[in-house]
């Protein structure tokens, strides 16, 4: 035992402050500098049926135990396991209700004072968000009383943007197109969710592709678009699903708008005075016509004035939010095969083509004349490694930083690595002459700041998940451990510590 006095000078040696030592752990800690293993290991289980050591000269029989015949139960019904896997639980009745938590509304989505706090998603909106599959399983919604999101810097920017586009100011009717990237767990998908919830509060039309991968892994039916262009393929079932998502989520908006253009492709199915909801439902009922219906719906939503003969019931169209998750899957060959058994490039699917064409500003006429936001995100956990995408994103970042494509600093694709030209072209957006048309931007999500992280961890504490004093120092430590405030990591830390108390 080392004395805590220095006997030569009779002063007390400085010792580690008690507070920084993790509480209650000192006794059971094994390794000198870890808290985790000892903490999270389950208490030592008593072995069942203690093995008595064989007595002297006692033979140990090598008799094998007979295998019990396994009782065969019926396998779960078709789709049951998948439903369980995709189930999204948004509420945990055991978590504490947080007093004074505000709901997202048109007023507070631009309020900079709320930065770092949690805004709840309004309960009536949850059905809409579920319909557009904004929530993903394993996002940890199920540990809180009700879903809410952190207001971070990017959220406020997004709020201002959406407010500006639908407001009456100079930004009215602007088209903003963004690609959201960031490290794993940096909140890209939740950023899309926030955009959707803001768009719903502003009564926009929200069109989403919740998982880009679903369209290219050859899990839905496909067919050539028409006899004229057999090399372009349409996915009717997927389009019908998209229409159904759009209709369920935007029922209020779509049912208040009515058809204002002629749709020769749909022939007699379209009746004058039909609401857009009814129009979209045509495609859901008959998937064979789904693509034509979707095109009709798109022309209706992007109409700025009625066609001759439809003037009666025209109402101005709301702005449109288009979101897409996991963009990189659309940048390679799909799992579909063409008629001569060659893989079809994802850009040859007309569905994909349509959504990718939104990234490029139209030369003369704006893509979305009523304004809108096109928000596509990449994924860091499930994404194919595609060289073309890497280069294209680098080029995008360089353009955004003001590097001219003709300058030598502009990143170029390595000619030996065979970057896909179609991919490079998809991201290569020229400046449009239309004033409201924004060029493609890259938004990289990083970690939260310390203040935002503190607000986030307080949310855990106030929900009763974390029994720890959320001090500056404690948050700073978690902030560092989470790789500079990466929100997904912070959430894991908040969850794990729940077990400690």
């Amino acid at each position: 035992m080392v004395s805590s006095f220095c006997w030569s000078c009779l002063t007390r040696l400085p010792s580690a402050p008690r507070a920084i030592l993790p509480p209650t752990l000192t006794a059971q800690r094994v390794a000198a500098f870890h808290t985790s293993t000892a903490l999270f290991s389950s208490p030592v289980k008593k072995k069942k049926g203690d093995v008595v050591p064989a007595k002297f000269r006692q033979a140990k029989s090598a008799k094998m135990k007979k295998k019990k015949p396994v009782e065969r139960t019926r396998p779960p019904a078709v789709g049951e396991r998948k439903a369980l896997k995709k189930r999204i639980v948004l509420s945990n009745p055991n978590a504490l209700e947080i007093e004074g938590m505000q709901d997202l509304s048109a007023d507070n989505m631009v309020d900079a004072r709320l930065r770092g706090s949690i805004l709840g998603l309004p309960v009536p909106m949850l059905d809409q968000l579920r319909a557009v599959q904004a929530f993903k399983p394993k996002q940890g919604w199920s540990i809180f009383r009700r879903p809410g999101t952190v207001v971070r810097r990017e959220t406020l920017e997004l709020g201002r943007l959406i407010d500006g586009i639908s407001g009456e100011g100079e930004n009215k009717g602007r088209v903003v197109r963004k690609i959201v990237t960031g490290v794993r767990g940096s909140g890209k998908t939740v950023h899309l969710l926030q955009a959707m919830s803001m768009a719903f509060t502003k009564n926009w039309v929200v069109i989403t592709v919740p998982e880009a991968q679903d369209l290219v892994i050859a899990n839905t039916a496909y067919a050539p678009l028409s006899d004229e262009n057999p090399n372009v393929y349409v996915q009717n079932d997927a389009t019908a699903a998209l229409l159904s998502r759009t209709v369920t989520a935007n029922q209020n908006v779509l049912s208040s708008l009515s058809v204002s253009q002629a749709h020769p492709a749909l022939k007699s199915a379209v009746k004058p005075g039909m609401t857009l909801e009814a129009l979209a439902k045509l495609g859901i009922q008959d998937p064979a016509a789904a693509w034509n219906v979707f095109q009709a719906l798109w022309t209706e939503l992007t109409a700025s004035s009625p066609a001759p003969g439809f003037e009666g019931t025209f109402k101005p169209r709301p702005p449109v939010l288009v979101t897409l998750d996991n963009l990189a899957h659309w940048m390679k060959e799909s799992k579909y095969n063409s008629i001569d058994c060659k893989p079809i490039h994802a850009h040859d699917l007309v569905f994909v083509q349509h959504f990718l064409s939104l990234l490029k500003p139209n030369a003369d006429k704006p893509t979305l004349p009523n304004g809108g936001l096109i928000l596509y995100s990449t994924s860091a956990s499930n994404s194919p490694t595609i060289y073309g995408v890497t280069v294209a994103l680098q080029q995008l970042a360089a353009r955004q930083a003001g590097v001219k494509p003709s300058s030598p600093e502009y990143p170029q694709a390595d000619p030996f690595l065979n970057a896909d030209n179609r991919v490079l072209a998809a991201f290569d957006s020229s400046k449009s002459t239309a004033p409201k048309e924004g060029s493609l931007e890259l938004q990289t999500l990083g970690g939260l700041t310390r203040e935002e992280a503190q607000g986030f961890m307080e949310y855990f504490a106030r929900s009763g998940l974390l029994r720890e004093n959320v001090t500056d120092a404690w948050v700073g430590e978690k902030w560092s451990l989470a790789g500079g405030g990466v929100i997904g990591e912070l959430e894991k830390l908040g969850r794990r510590l729940r077990v400690v108390a």
Binding site: N219, A221, Y222, P224, Y336, N337, I339, C341
Partner: protein, 119 residues
């Protein structure tokens, strides 16, 4: 239940697997067939349109599969035996035909190469 080439398949079966149940159609042929008629690989038999079923049936009836193929197979072996070639003899003896070693592991040959060849 969907009839494809006279065989009844339950609707929940996958088309690719169903095609591969025919003698003479394997992974490659079934993939090609599906690509030819624009059927995605996870498609269920129940999801096939009428036209697609007819197309598949027509394509299958043009191919040499099932009994035709079996007969050709046996004829080839028979020809080898009758001309008295080494390969024919090996078939008859129940030994490996293609120069494999016979010191070990000739179970398949023993099982399959009989006078009355099973398929």
């Amino acid at each position: 239940m969907v009839f494809i080439l006279g065989v009844n398949f339950p609707e929940r079966n996958i088309v690719k697997k169903s095609l591969e149940s025919f003698f003479g159609i394997g992974n490659l042929t079934s993939t090609r067939l599906l690509a030819r008629f624009h059927i995605h690989p996870t498609c269920k038999v129940g999801d096939l349109g009428n036209k697609q079923v007819l197309d598949i049936t027509a394509a299958l009836s043009d191919m040499k599969i099932e009994n035709d193929l079996r007969r050709q197979y046996l004829d080839n072996i028979k020809r080898l035996k009758e001309t008295g070639t080494y390969r024919g003899r090996r078939h008859a003896l129940g030994l490996p035909v293609r120069g494999q070693r016979t010191r070990s592991q000739i179970k398949n040959a023993v099982k399959l190469n009989r006078m009355e060849r099973r398929l």
